[in-house]
Subunit: 371 residues, 4 copies
């Protein structure tokens, strides 16, 4: 198996599939190499929040990137539907970042100004105002930020839609193909070595999420990324009892079509163990009951877990390898992989095409930054 | 449990859910009583074809009803999406009714005139023309009717979208509630008897599909309907190899989003047994391979079966009970349940509201017709 | 479809399958008519406890029956394994009936004497003694009855093993066949009416669990039975942390092979709704954590529910119909269906063969007893 | 995470779990490191045949090893049941190696003498004799070898029983832990490097099946092993129609408890792709229908696939690394992994304990043999 591609994407999660889609739209001949099934890890475990404002506690390049990426979704949803027939269920009913302690009230109120300065909509709701909009919430809620533009999508559908749209545009998909190392020569990447042979390309993009560390080490980089497990469960109401997404410390509630509600997510660092634990479910359940007492009347649906890639400074890695030309990295998206997937695809495609990416300063995202 | 409703819908499949949705849009307070889970029988087994032209071999009221119902889908898809967030994946890429024998060639060509007279688009494609449009088909195909307006939807999603939209409009849904008989007094229905008590209403609609016979017998009608089992399987291509739906004698191929292809469906009369048989799968597989040789390269996905309600003259039952006022019947849709669900909902809602339904002559559909 | 059988068993749960097995061992030609799949209701939801002593709070015929039935299991397990190859995983590691209040301490201690009088082993363990045997329990446990002979089996396997063994001995199994009523003539049963026709036999046994009420009403009996929903969940430990079964008020913990632990079961009366609720799981989880704190470290496996048939006096119905000869009833086993299945099969087979059953006085079990 | 163990077993399939079990029985403190879940690859895809005679076409060390391992099963089944409660469903109803061409008749008859010389039971059955014993077979069967001692077990249960029994004896199990390379110093192994750190031990056993190649290359060995995909499907009969296992060229039929029948297995070399293909299922189905026409009346159950490790000379790798002391290899079992698992565990445990293993000459199994 020796083939030559314009680009090899290593990893078939939402990031890799988005990158492949962006490359294909520009006419490049790419292949996705996925060690198991497409979108079978963090991408399918995500609740799909587009929390560009809710997740960010300060201004900065990640905040900028997040907002730009979120704003790409309306057009993207249409494009992907046209290409693949898949509806990513983009929902724009806003998000509440909920405070349940006085400390949080103060902390969240202070977030308003930097978001306003950035031109984003955000407003404080008192507990009463909040309960008027979302009467199913309990009165442990002291108030919250209302973020009308933070919505959500179906994460597994987004990941599949990127991949299938890419395939329709000519991208080849090879599942069950594990990349072990890179072919590196004269300062540039020349291809990859897999468990069934070599593939050649002048551009290789590593989008292997929590499983990137070892691959990067093969290229001389001891990256700071580490896995963080997240557990979730879902319930079903006959009729939705929440309209907006509820984002609180350690527990979010994301209302999906058909009355489903996703409750997530625990955060357990430094494990690749995807088993759902009784502890995780019990903890989430207690938090959810405290915020939304009527959840007890819902139907229990299912539980799951995923492993997200975190970095030491909580900023993703996005950019070219400092030593090996043509080797690009896009990982470390942690809880923002779904949100950042569209812009990540475009940034990497620009880099592959050697176009300067000027919209956002990418310096803070480079992999060899000091930590 | 004694309650009073404007209407009681017995059966939570696609027909009952559509009826409830139509009633709710008119402001009526309805309840759906479903003996198991919503949409768990034929509605979720259907391939979702809207074969208003492909399934009909002659002009007549069923042909009329089918076309009218098919034409309701574009607006309906939007409505249901707005109400429930659910995308029914309406696809309008046309259908080929394929001939593989000279007899079929003659038979199908003769269908063109009555369809043209009805103002429908249909044109004959020779084998070569057909293979040009659908190059993955084999040359056993001698030609076929091209029906550009026969599309398909996702059947389980349609059924769920009707029910959830109805619930959002105030319809109550009671699953795991079996209706045994009716409360009949002075020439009219007064309610139903369930396994947990009685519910009262002046309007009761029976939409229990293949399970209607016994209920109708309780009202003095020995209907001619009988169950017909259909088995299906599905496969997944990395990239779709068919664009339109292929409809042939004893085997249809319905391309779904994401590269899925549904192959259906066997027809075994007079059984409620929903087990998938090796015989059924083997027969379908042989037919599918003959039409579409490259199916062998697809991924095997899954198998399933459903029980469809057929009548002696292949015309559904739609109308009021001849003896008991307020008791309505809507069943016997056989292979056209998905297609006919929107118009069935509207017809029944008109009847409940005592509005004359004049668009189509309902006489042939009445339950006490001579057979 | 007109056939003649020595006996028709209506219902393919653990009771019906046991009856069919007993009949087949005696050379009778029987058929099981099951409306859905074999063992798909309460039989597969059960935790499989053989709590002949733990469930009974007083001496009496049910206590007698329970002990006799429990003692049949060792031989039965071998028989079924020989016939069907299925291992029912009979486990005899004893059960603790746990007290967590002083009231329960007193109440349970008083149960010792009637059990001793019956010749059964039972002894009181103080909290310390108990924790020594089961160190994973928490100190909310004040003490408990140790019942060394109360074990457990795998309920789904037992049900399947009965049915498959019966089939091997010549019993015909018809799934997806619903019985609506009986053919009753001249004071005796002559057969049954199903959704696909009639079957004839001089012996019909009703073993339809929580779904018996309506069928019995067809025969003129307004029985007192009602459905009681039970929800469960299971977890998996890498290594078992409990040896014996823990039986407490409102929560039992049954350790299964491979480190699985079943936690059950809620009790919600008068519903056929099999949906698992958040409330049910949350309640069980809290109780389980209180008894067994280390459960939080287990892997979450799954949740399920079943509908059990209860009677007004908590005594099953076992016997012949008071008016219709040849019509036998065996239902109302509530939480003891698995335990009582072997003896129920034998009792009914004796009645069918018109042998006097003298081991236990069946008067209290007759269906037309005063309540 | 730095720990010290007596032995580290890399890979939690049936081979690794058997090795860990053998080590634990000898009092050694071992850990299993499994990159995903225990027994989730070839071990759970296997049909569980113990075809010590049917798979072997000539005398030699593999034939010897196979027979010895097969003979360990009766005692092992009891041991594992006692330790873990798990029944591996050992079945000893013999196997027919079926000939459907005259060539096969001649070829198989010639196999009788070497098996008789080895003291094994084997006899030729003509087509008529064979159909008398197994009347469900078709008359394409020209005759076959009857091997009364070749039976089968449930492969997933065997794998789990080894692992859980090992855990009960003190073995630690770490799932979701991938080993990347070894710590090698002064001619011996000192431990392993995983994705979450290092573990230390003087004994490391590589039992990673089809995924061993890359790990071995890290130690300087370019082994000849390659992956071979096998696809299967299963059906269910109400009542078994086969008694013995049917082994034919390219298709085997293994009757399991409860009327299940496993049909396997395709052989596709050089792929790790575990997707079930339409081609694979279609091919197996045709072969199965030809041998067993009544299979069409069975219920379709499911399909699956696994990746088996094959070697250039079809002999497994069993032994110590030629350069690194303490590093042991046990892989390449191809279609005989279930059969050879017990003896592999014992051989490796002997080697770890530095006991000479004299029962079988291990020279042909050493990894650095000339090929």
């Amino acid at each position: 198996m020796v083939n030559h591609y314009d680009a090899i994407v290593v990893g078939g999660g939402v990031i890799g599939s988005s990158v492949a889609y962006s490359l294909a739209k520009r006419g490049l001949k790419a292949v996705i190499l996925e060690k198991e099934r497409l979108g079978s890890q963090a991408s399918q475990a995500a609740a799909g929040m587009l929390a560009a404002q809710a997740e960010m506690t300060e201004a900065g390049p990640l905040f900028e990137l997040s907002r730009k990426s979120r704003n790409m979704f309306p057009k993207l949803a249409e494009e992907l539907h046209d290409q693949s027939g898949i509806d990513i269920a983009l929902t724009n009913k806003g998000m509440f970042k909920i405070a349940v302690t006085e400390e949080q009230v103060q902390e969240y109120k202070q977030m308003i100004s930097f978001q306003h300065e950035a031109g984003e909509q955000v407003e404080w709701h008192t507990g009463d105002e909040l309960l008027e909009k979302e009467p199913a919430l309990s009165n442990v809620v002291l108030g919250g930020l209302y973020l009308p533009n933070d919505g959500h999508v179906l994460a597994p559908e987004l990941s599949l839609a990127f991949a299938k749209s890419a395939a329709n545009l000519g991208v080849k998909i090879q599942e069950y193909t594990e990349v072990f190392s890179f072919i590196l020569e004269s300062g540039r990447v020349k291809g990859v070595k897999t468990d069934r042979g070599e593939l050649l390309s002048d551009n290789v993009i590593v989008t292997t999420g929590a499983w990137s560390h070892r691959l990067l080490r093969e290229t001389g980089i001891d990256s700071s990324d580490y896995p963080v497990k997240g557990e979730c469960f879902s319930v079903v109401f006959q009729k939705p009892i929440l309209d907006s997404t509820i984002f609180s410390n350690g527990c979010y509630l994301v209302p999906k079509k058909g009355g489903r509600l996703i409750v997530g997510a625990t955060m357990k660092s430094n494990t690749f163990d995807r088993k759902v634990t009784v502890d995780g479910i019990s903890t989430l359940l207690d938090k959810a009951k405290r915020l939304l007492p009527d959840i007890v009347n819902a139907e229990w649906e299912k539980t799951w877990a995923g492993i997200r890639p975190q970095t030491a400074d909580s900023i993703p890695y996005l950019g070219e390898h400092p030593e090996w030309q043509g080797l690009f990295i896009a990982t470390g998206h942690y809880r923002n992989g779904i949100l950042l997937s569209p812009i990540t695809g475009e940034i990497i495609a620009d880099l592959v095409e050697k176009k300067p990416y000027n919209d956002v300063d990418l310096t803070p995202f480079r992999i060899h930054r000091p930590l």
